[in-house]
Amino acid sequence: MELGLLDGFVRACSPMNLWYCFLGSMLGTFVGVLPAVGPAATIAILLPVTAYLDATQSIIMLAGIFYGAMYGGSTTSILMNIPGEAASVPTCLDGYQMTKQGRAGEALAIAAIGSFIAGTVGALFLSFAAPLLAEFALAFGSPEYFGLMFFSLTALFSFSGNSLLRGASAGLAGILLATVGIDPMSGIQRMAFGIPKLLSGLDVVPVLIGLFGVAEVLYGAEEQIVSVYEGKLGRMIPRGKELTKGLWASIRGTVIGIVTGVFPGLMPSVVTFIAYDIEKRISKYPEKFGTGVIEGVASPEAANNANCQAGFIPLFALGIPTTPIAAMLLASLMIYGLPVGPMLFKQHGDFAWAVVASMYIGNVMLLILNLPLVGLWARLCLIPYRIIGPIVLGAVMVGAYSIRNNMFDVWTSIIFGLAGYVMKKRGWPIAPLILGFILGPLLEQHFRASLQGSGGSMLIFVQRPICAVFIFLGVLLILMSRKLYSKVSVQE
């Protein structure tokens, strides 16, 4: 592991990799600050562009956008009471109160420091846990993978949204839409209904661009942001007891983020609420939460960064995405033909370690970008939506077209954009749809391969202990989803 990580640092420190790490961190902070464009939309739009880059540079940049957005999301929450990301909503509660008391600098500093601690500890945990998990998963066969995917999908259905039925329906629709085209095992056409364009199936990138890029812009067009922070930031670093309290809260948030990060469905937007709630419960002065308590900023900010970093563990070790953004990174790995799952560390260790090492570097870059330049980021909200919106829509068109050089993908992204907009408006979760679309083919492949091995007997899924445990946990989650949801309120 040590050698792999050292080698990864050498590769990550090459000028081009450093540049893409910086670019990703910068872009991530930028879209994290902007309330109307999120990291999901940005990654979706950039996927076709990054296809022209080397795999390592591309994933380093996309990962940088993901964790960079977690840093940037806190800025507008603290200064303007506008969450840049859904994950930053709890930060508004105490962060904005601190701003009103003239302590904006302290709030921004503890958010950045907490994010740095969480990001670095998360990367450290990823460095140790991912190779171990990958080593363990090498023994997995098709039934175990089927069980794991079944569990991941059911977890996502159960946690995303206030209705299991809606989550399951969206996920199942994603699974069915992924079957359009030629069946890879038999070569027979399915769900194409004789339409030649559908024979090659629906490409994942236009679907992602539509659901996240187009839908987000259409939705954002109705909620234009006009305010900007013009006040003073105050002292930039908290002192004495405030600093100690903030640091301890960051550590607690980090632990919560890491533990929940490896679990499918528990996205940063959920985990920050859990961290805030726990912090309030264990506090000696819970009644003061919401009035400008530093722990109320530090813990959720650390939790969302740690959660985001820990999400790379199942992604790299098992090929299981826990969030829609992780699913996009998985799609990107697939575009490059990299093996998803435990073989990634075995066969492409140089790539995997370079990406892991870049996360340590990216976190340092983000700390530097976020502390001294915070005023600049805050003023980014001056850019009117009437300029950002058209730019995103224009990029969507080019991105969708450039994948296979055909207009069919453009129409696909517009149709999925409309679907995503309607889903957002009606409060339907989008995450299960995209996870179903990406994991669906793998689920089917392992399901059918398992039955091939067993001669058609379904008993194989209960005879293999690891598979049986995953299926049992998945069924349990479905049965308990209503109870769990009441404790974990999910915002996508």
């Binding site: 067009a221 058209p390 224009g394 080019v398 450039s402």
Partner: protein, 142 residues
Amino acid sequence: MILEIILLVIAAAGLTEGARLSKSVLLFVDPVGPGWYLFFMSCLLFICALALLVRQFIRRKAGQREVSLSLHKGPAGRALILLLLYGVAATYLGYLPASAMFFILVQRIFGERSWPRCAVIGASITACFYFVFSYLAGMPLP
């Protein structure tokens, strides 16, 4: 209710295809074939979508209305129509004129009131896009 109906349509398509393909079982190579999985997932989706539809009917009867989409009134609907027209124009007129028109008009939809400003910003974005995507990234444009 539109989403529930779309889901029912997808489920019905899956059921039809699943039923058609379940006859083509390659017993030794692939015991369930390409149809069984499709049929099973479509059944599950059909049940879920039907349950959601029934729930919607009950809610409607109880006087609970869904959030109005009002696509025809707001900027979202107009932007969507413009995006569709942009796709058609890019196919027949080429990328540059279609993009210039799109960027000018979409700014109006998103709230810009001054036509000259729309024209300047629209032309600038088009030029930037052409330079970045075509020259720097070497990406094909419609």
